[in-house]
């Protein structure tokens, strides 16, 4: 009974989070510098990961949690590699925006 009554809340939250991710995508597309875009992609990754967990629980597919773990690990990897390439000066390029 209790479990049943919380499912609409999960659906509402995940749609709200997706709309938030939409707003973050604007920063990713418009963001003036490359670090801004990496940050936006990282945020979108976190939000979609939470959405995936909520979706899996709302539809009673607990095995999607493994997919969410893979998500978390790989978005971490991408951010660290991009940061390292920026830091060592390899990704600079004579290019603004």
């Amino acid at each position: 009974m209790n479990e049943w009554s919380l499912i609409p809340l999960f659906w509402g939250t995940l749609i709200f989070l997706l709309i938030n991710a939409f707003a973050c995508l604007w920063r990713g597309l418009a963001g003036p510098t490359l670090p801004d875009r990496i940050l936006a992609a990282n945020v979108i990754g976190t939000k979609t990961m939470v959405v995936l967990v909520l979706l899996g629980l709302a539809r009673e597919q607990g095995i999607w949690l493994d997919v969410a773990l893979v998500y978390g690990l790989l978005s971490f990897t991408v951010t660290l590699v991009a940061g390292r390439l920026l830091e060592t000066g390899r990704l600079k390029g004579a290019w603004k925006q």
Binding site: I63, D66, L69, V70, L73, L80, V81, R84, E87, T88
Partner: protein, 236 residues
């Protein structure tokens, strides 16, 4: 200028003309997941009914990948190995030849060294449970590769070279192809045809897990090798 504009208009008209029949076809498709859709009434019903038994794994996707379409999967394993061979031939195999001028952040260093073993354990979990849960050789292999790439961000080349020699790297990268070829040939005496898995459930399970492990380790080493080869290439 005028020709360019005409070309744009022509492109738009062509795309619209293509879109109309496609949309018309889309509307007539059955709803996704509908029970009466042709995809669900013909061949896949048979796969769903008998696939777990014939394929030898609870997860039907893994059964199809490793048993019904084993030749296709073998081709995929060969493709990524060949990709590494090509990149290594063009870019060389030296990993991180020049020392990076900027030392890595101590925080990142600590966290990667802390997380590394856990990533490896999770990758092995994904690989070995591929026949029950979503996941399998490729996905776990990508996780292993991601772990190697992360470690290469904070470790210097000498440490890596001391742990795994260049010759062992090549053998590791060939693991997927070798294990798959071995299992494929073993199908001849055990099942009577190439790429066949034996009927006995225990042996079949062992072979499936061996295949997954081979694909995982080989795939991870190949992906990390691609990264090392490109990142460490001479900039000339």
């Amino acid at each position: 200028m005028n020709r360019r504009r005409a070309g744009r208009i022509l492109t738009a008209v062509l795309i619209a003309a293509l879109a109309v029949p496609l949309m018309y076809g889309m509307v007539q498709l059955p709803a996704p997941g509908h029970a009466d859709a042709p995809a669900h009434t013909n061949v896949s019903a048979g796969y769903i009914e008998r696939g777990a038994e014939l394929g030898g794994s609870e997860n039907l996707v893994t059964g199809v990948l490793l048993n019904f379409r084993a030749l296709d999967t073998f081709g995929e394993v060969l493709v990524i190995f060949t990709a590494w061979l090509a990149v290594a031939a063009v870019a060389g195999t030296a990993s991180n030849a020049e020392r990076d001028p900027v030392p890595p952040s101590p925080v990142v260093d600590y966290v990667i060294r802390l997380l590394g073993p856990f990533i490896a354990i999770f990758a092995l979990f994904v690989i070995v449970n591929g026949h029950v849960l979503p996941g399998g050789g490729f996905q776990g292999g990508v996780l292993l590769g991601a772990m190697l790439i992360l470690l290469s961000l904070v470790m210097d080349a000498e440490t890596v070279a001391r742990a795994v020699s260049a010759r062992s790297w090549i053998w590791l990268r060939a693991t997927g192809v070798l294990v798959f070829a071995m299992v494929a040939v073993m199908g001849l005496p055990l099942a009577g045809y190439l790429f066949g898995l034996p009927d006995e459930p225990g042996l079949r399970q062992v072979l499936t897990v061996a295949l997954e492990l081979g694909i995982g380790i080989g795939g991870g080493a190949v992906l990390a090798g691609l990264f090392f080869a490109i990142a460490g290439a001479d900039r000339s």
